[in-house]
Symmetry: C2
Subunit: 284 residues, 2 copies
Amino acid sequence: MDERSMPRVAFQGAPGAYSEEAVHRVYGTDTPTIPLRENRDVTRAVADGRADLGLLPIENTLAGAVLASYDAMLAEPDIHAIDEVVLPIHHFVLGVLGASIASLRTIESHPIALAQCETFFRAHPAIEPHAVYDTGGAADAIARAGELTRGAIASRAAASRYGLSVLAENVEDRSDNQTRFLVLSRTPAQPRDGERVRTLVALTVDNKPGGLLRVLAPLAQRNLNLVRLESRPTREPWTYWFMVEFEHQSGDTAAHDALEEIGRVSHELRAIGTYPAAAETFGQ
Amino acid sequence: MDERSMPRVAFQGAPGAYSEEAVHRVYGTDTPTIPLRENRDVTRAVADGRADLGLLPIENTLAGAVLASYDAMLAEPDIHAIDEVVLPIHHFVLGVLGASIASLRTIESHPIALAQCETFFRAHPAIEPHAVYDTGGAADAIARAGELTRGAIASRAAASRYGLSVLAENVEDRSDNQTRFLVLSRTPAQPRDGERVRTLVALTVDNKPGGLLRVLAPLAQRNLNLVRLESRPTREPWTYWFMVEFEHQSGDTAAHDALEEIGRVSHELRAIGTYPAAAETFGQ
């Protein structure tokens, strides 16, 4: 990418999605974005150069891990996580002009957004949640259809983009709802020495008792903070990719030694990235 | 439940769902089943006595963990996992009489079933996957609609139940695709001493570095086999329920001592159940 030009950033969803909001938050609202259908498309676009950067949600404080993002990263071994972004998420029920909560029969949104608004749906049993690919796309679809019975859950930005009315504000179950994103690039980050960073690695272990605990021990012995551990299926039944994320200081010996030791007890070990830790989160 | 009568078993999905197939496999095809809409409804039905037992998928060899089932178990602290069932999963593309793969524009199914048939969808880009609540319900819906453009991915049993044609067989990405289910009850299981069992516990730890590793150490020190570790969000941002499943022999001291030690270093510890390990699976 030309240093003087702005990066083109790929995200999953339609224009107006929360991921686009996260891109604008970090890189400015003028940043050119590339909306893509699937999380997997985002890592592919970064790998093949159609995008300079990609942004994927990996965890939400209400819904938990975004497994499709882990799978998308595993599918492209040559890209790197270079930054972490935490975005507060507020959900709005949107409808066409003239619609009201009482006129709605369905509300369309991304499954994770729907899962974050359980209280709203419990209070409105006449409205059926309907899972679609993304929040921005849901807003687009109901705006095109123009029916009083169809609502969408999306961001406030999506309301103005698609000319929709806000029928209910902040319908998320918790007002401190947040999503953590990773920024992906073909080039690894170069954190300053001593900076508080996180390292994400993916590894497989031999199928014998204690395999997983053996790769975690090098972190425990050095008092390194395990932030997250996710397991994703490999192609072989009952065998896993473990995604291990831990926190440390950039350039410290403990993290270096731990990784070397983990490499020795792993079957396969892939570094996904080392990136500055967002201030909002803290470790397990 | 009356010992002489058959248990009524709740499952998530419509009649013809894979979960119903799993119920019939374990308890016989005459077993009365209770189809429910959400995983959460299954644990609620067991807790309040509308069902004698519940059956929930917790892991698939292609799609990974079924997070909604973990959440459903966490939401009902008084029910117990009493058995583990592993079912081979084969997917069929179903359509109404006269439909063919070429006439389809959408295929409806449970999101996890759709995720297991990526190769099929990549080979048929004109067909759009459409996520709905369950495989049996998808088959029911397309049978009622009677349109040549709408297909469903479901079991062979769903084809005969809803009078649909099988348009393509075994469209899952891997023929060794399997789903692991847990059986839930108000009464804990009583495994024989020495039997190979698994124990699932849910726990929270204090938010300080190394908390998670500290609760895993008691298993590692005794060479107990950690089968799975899942983290699910609590109501507090960036804090987690850890679901720890490990394998041991029923009644052995090592497991007893490890649990006691885990209890001391956990903030909260809940036993979800101890149940015979299915022969098909093995630990991490």
